[in-house]
């Protein structure tokens, strides 16, 4: 797995996949749907798929002394790596916001999503959707990436919209607490974590099954 990740990083990855990790900094913007930062991290990964198709990376990987399914594993491992780095950055910024800046007026009166535990849960859901819709969709053919990305974009923005609406519903306003972690936030975080882990497992198994069947 280490070798596959290294290969993805050195040969396949588009520089924007790394650069777009910085969109995690959106966590600090007040009055902005900050979960969009998670979408941009996935957009950065999308560029790697464009590059992979252009340089026939899949065939090259399959011809290395690995199993055919390892070409799928390489793509998931790289996506998870980028997402983990972005999530770690988001987590640090969220902790800074909640602990040091929780009382700031711009965050306390923020009508849009605040960076808190629920926000982190939404990020995990977006990453899970990326695996379930985009990567899984890509491995149905191993070359068509346009339609899966459009579908992922729609699903991702619907999710972000739901996240922005939920905290305006009476009784759920705690979801947007800028300084305190509460039960509703933790529910979203746990749901996000379960969705990310479960969704990735389902997406990976389905991708392997589809990829074994297709002709390169």
């Amino acid at each position: 797995m280490k070798k596959l990740l290294y290969k993805e990083m050195k040969l396949t990855a588009h520089p924007l996949s790394y650069f777009f990790i910085l969109f995690a900094l959106m966590a600090m913007i007040p009055g902005y749907p900050i979960a969009v930062g998670g979408y941009f991290v996935c957009l950065g990964l999308f560029y790697t798929y464009q590059q992979a198709r252009e340089c026939d990376d899949i065939t090259y990987t399959v011809m290395l002394p690995v199993r055919k399914r390892d070409a799928v594993k390489a793509k998931y491992v790289f996506a998870i790596f980028i997402e983990c780095v972005a999530f770690l950055l988001s987590l640090i910024l969220t902790m800074v916001r909640m602990n040091a800046l929780g009382g700031a007026v711009v965050y306390a009166s923020n009508p849009m999503m605040n960076a808190n535990a629920a926000y982190l849960g939404y990020l995990l859901m977006i990453y899970g959707l990326f695996h379930l819709i985009f990567i899984r969709g890509f491995f149905r053919t191993a070359y068509k990436y346009g339609k899966p990305f459009v579908v992922f974009t729609i699903a991702g923005f619907v999710l972000i919209g739901i996240g922005e609406v939920l905290h305006h519903i009476p009784g759920l306003t705690g979801l947007n607490d800028p300084a305190m972690v509460n039960a509703p936030q933790l529910v979203i975080l746990v749901l996000g974590l379960l969705f990310y882990v479960g969704g990735t497992a389902v997406a990976y198994a389905a991708s392997v099954k589809d990829f074994e069947r297709i002709d390169l």
Binding site: K10, Y60, D215, L216
Partner: protein
């Protein structure tokens, strides 16, 4: 001694094309020319052998190992090259090699340096800067640096000038003398006359004949008369009336 490659009844069905059961085998040091017209099923067969195309039936054994059951082990022993494709064209040779070699247990840096020099490959060059002939040499360098015992080459001489093709044929002969088995597809019959030991002929997805070169020619000489060349035989097999 066992076979290096055993292909047993592989088939593949597309809406407009069918690969009928293909079976043949190869020994160490054998150069097999896999010949047929464009669209006859050569690439489909080679890709089916390599599991790049998913065959409907049949099996492939390499050095006694079932390909699908020992895919990663088998690939340690084989090299694959295809004409007209360049992976990671914007990367330098040395960067691609730095990653590729980590996957091979038997990577031999000394052999790698030897073939770089022998093929006059410059590590600092990007793949897009290589001619078609140099690209094939680059893939061969990778294969030979991990001591591949079987090379599967899809139209490696297509797109090469006559001098480069002649050089490539000489390389194949020298590798065969070292015990490397080479299966290469082509529709350029003159290449085969220079370097192939056996001929496997495919027509419209169907295996016509697989035999040592001399037997192959003799069997058609009886039907055609005289001393036909491979090109004469190919034209004889494929000749169709042209209706305009």
């Amino acid at each position: 001694m066992g076979y290096v490659l055993e292909v047993d009844g592989i088939t593949k069905k597309y809406p407009a094309f069918e690969l009928k059961p293909i079976s043949f085998h190869m020994e160490a040091g054998e150069v097999m020319g896999f010949i047929g017209r464009n669209g006859a099923g050569k690439t489909t067969t080679l890709k089916s052998i390599l599991n790049l195309v998913h065959p409907e039936a049949g099996s492939v054994r390499v050095l006694g190992m079932e390909y699908l059951e020992h895919e990663d082990e088998v690939k340690q022993q084989i090299g694959y090259a295809v004409g007209g494709i360049s992976y990671y064209k914007n990367k330098k040779i040395k960067d691609i090699i730095a990653i590729t070699k980590t996957f091979y247990e038997n990577w031999d840096e000394q052999e790698y340096r030897h073939f770089l020099a022998a093929f006059k490959l410059d590590e600092e060059k990007r793949l897009k800067e290589l001619s078609e002939g140099m690209k094939v040499k680059f893939y061969l360098t990778i294969a030979l640096s991990h001591h591949a015992k079987l090379l599967i080459l899809d139209e490696p001489t297509s797109g090469l000038d006559p001098v480069s093709r002649d050089e490539m044929n000489e390389i194949f002969r020298k590798l065969a003398e070292k015990g490397v088995a080479i299966l290469f597809s082509t529709h350029i019959t003159s290449d085969l006359e220079k370097c192939a030991d056996t001929i496997t002929y495919i027509k419209n997805g169907e295996l016509v004949k697989t035999a040592p070169m001399s037997d192959f020619i003799t069997s058609y000489a009886a039907e055609m008369g005289g001393e036909p060349s491979l090109e004469d035989i190919m034209v004889y097999i494929e000749k169709e009336e042209v209706n305009l």
